[in-house]
């Protein structure tokens, strides 16, 4: 049996009366890429954000490497220190990059190494440089985010996450805010990461990426996880009419 990096069981989440996640079950295999797809508002970003507890789920369990995140026991919230401890090994990349604009690219990447890992300044800086070189930005290290393109900013954000040496990487629509010509450079970095065996969960509208890079694709609609399977079975031979209709709309929109 394959080890699960993330094991999600019967997770529910409400925003007031709105039922955002409905009994969601999903297991994310270690060392593999899992893509979450579905229409907007289907709960895929919410589910992703529950995996590092940026969003609190109301019931059910999410286990990261076997350890329950967000709660010590059902109904009893985890203390800040324990949660921070868990988050250290979970990298996250946001749709809007969320770089800190008052710091250079290098300082953005070094910040977590300094404040969270407690590395000495010189070492943090050296590791930040390595991470930035890895995403192809060795020559932009001293630029502030305002002097970088969207694609470059997102690569800095990826470097910021991988510098912490996470065991799991979460991507929340990492290319949705980018101009079309900048999407490729970010996806390339993500593919490299995938080929190195990083466990990745990616919320995306890039069906091409899902088809070619993902090991598993999960389809969500209206807070329900409809199906999770190989990319081929979800994207090319979907059984569920909801997936069929989603893909039909997608193809129509992208044909010309």
């Amino acid at each position: 049996m394959q080890a699960s990096a993330v094991e999600i069981q019967k997770v529910n989440k409400y925003y007031g009366p709105f039922h955002a996640l409905k009994d969601v079950d999903l297991s994310v295999p270690a060392g593999k890429v899992t893509c979450l797809i579905g229409p907007s508002g289907s709960g895929k970003s919410t589910l992703l954000r529950c995996m590092n507890f940026l969003e609190e789920y109301d019931s059910g369990e999410i286990r990261i490497d076997g350890r329950l995140i967000g709660y010590d026991a059902p109904g009893r919230k985890m203390g800040g220190r324990a949660l921070r401890e868990m988050r250290r090994s979970i990298g996250m990349v946001f749709q809007q990059f969320n770089l800190w604009p008052h710091m250079s690219a290098r300082e953005n990447v070094a910040e977590g190494l300094l404040r969270v890992r407690g590395l000495p300044k010189a070492e943090a800086s050296a590791r930040a440089a390595d991470a930035l070189a890895k995403v192809g930005l060795a020559d932009k290290m001293d630029n502030h985010p305002s002097r970088l393109s969207g694609g470059q900013q997102q690569r800095v954000a990826i470097a910021r996450a991988i510098a912490m040496e996470p065991r799991l990487m979460l991507f929340d629509e990492p290319t949705s805010a980018l101009d079309p010509e900048l999407v490729g450079e970010v996806l390339t970095v993500m593919k490299t990461l995938a080929s190195e065996g990083m466990t990745m969960v990616v919320v995306t509208h890039e069906m091409g990426f899902a088809a070619h890079v993902a090991d598993r694709v999960a389809f969500m609609e209206r807070g329900e996880l409809v199906a999770a399977d190989t990319p081929d079975r979800i994207l090319h031979q979907p059984q569920d009419p909801r997936i069929q209709s989603f893909l039909r709309t997608y193809h129509e929109r992208n044909s010309f």
């Binding site: 590092n52 940026l54 800040g80 921070r84 401890e85 868990m86 988050r87 250290r88 979970i90 990298g91 996250m92 946001f94 809007q96 969320n98 770089l99 800190w100 604009p101 008052h102 910040e111 977590g112 404040r115 969270v116 502030h144 985010p145 305002s146 954000a157 910021r160 996450a161 912490m164």
Partner: protein, 218 residues
């Protein structure tokens, strides 16, 4: 000219007190304001409510009245202060709710995503405040902080009423003794104008440095 020779040293000394009261009142007021803003941001609900009442009361009453209550009413509850410490405490209290509101507005202007990014890598809230929230809130807060500091310069004249020997106090004495009201107050105006001009220049320079990479300049 004789007048200046006679009263010059006293006026300069008064101006020194004015600058001192302003600087310390601003620093302490800003500190207390920041503390209030942080407690309202992170604290429990009952504390937020108490601080809200504090802000409303202090903002809703004249500084002169606050100062009287503190200086003449203080001893009734055992708070016996000399004029200068009472004046400084008064300025601190008077300024704090305005500073607190400026900080609150600054916090709100920081995009949530940048705080989430810090939480996601496991930074403590204390680090997040120091490294992310405060620096980024300065984009919108700094001009308002400088502005209110300038307003505070002119509130210092009220301290003369509880006999703090600052510039207004000296000017009043000079005009009472010589009946040269116009000259005396002209001197007062010039001193204040110089002070405010200096603060606003320094403020602009500081602002440019702090927000260097934060505001798009085209």
């Amino acid at each position: 000219m004789d007048l200046l020779q006679q009263y010059g040293p006293a006026l300069l000394r008064g101006f020194g007190f004015t600058v001192l009261c302003w600087a310390l009142g601003t620093i302490f007021g800003m500190g207390l304001g920041l503390l209030i803003a942080l407690l309202r941001h992170y604290g429990p609900r009952w504390l937020c409510w108490i601080l809200q009442v504090y802000i409303e009361v202090i903002r809703g009453t004249p500084f002169l009245v606050q100062l009287f209550v503190l200086y003449y009413g203080g001893p009734l509850i055992g708070l016996r202060l000399d004029a200068l410490p009472a004046g400084l405490l008064g300025l601190t209290i008077y300024g704090s709710p305005y500073f607190a509101e400026i900080f609150r507005a600054g916090f709100r202007a920081v995009p949530l995503g940048q705080l989430e990014a810090a939480r996601a890598i496991g930074m403590t809230e204390a680090s997040i405040v120091r490294r992310i929230l405060l620096p980024l809130s300065m984009v919108s807060a700094l001009p308002a902080l400088i502005n209110f500091s300038i307003i505070l310069t002119k509130e210092t004249v009220i301290l003369s009423i509880i006999t703090v020997p600052e510039l207004m106090y000296q000017v009043s004495r000079m005009s009472a003794e010589t009946f040269r009201y116009v000259e005396a107050n002209l001197v007062l105006a010039l001193f204040f104008w110089g002070l405010v001009e200096t603060i606003s220049r320094l403020g602009r320079r500081f602002e440019a440095r702090v927000t260097k990479h934060l505001i798009e300049r085209t």
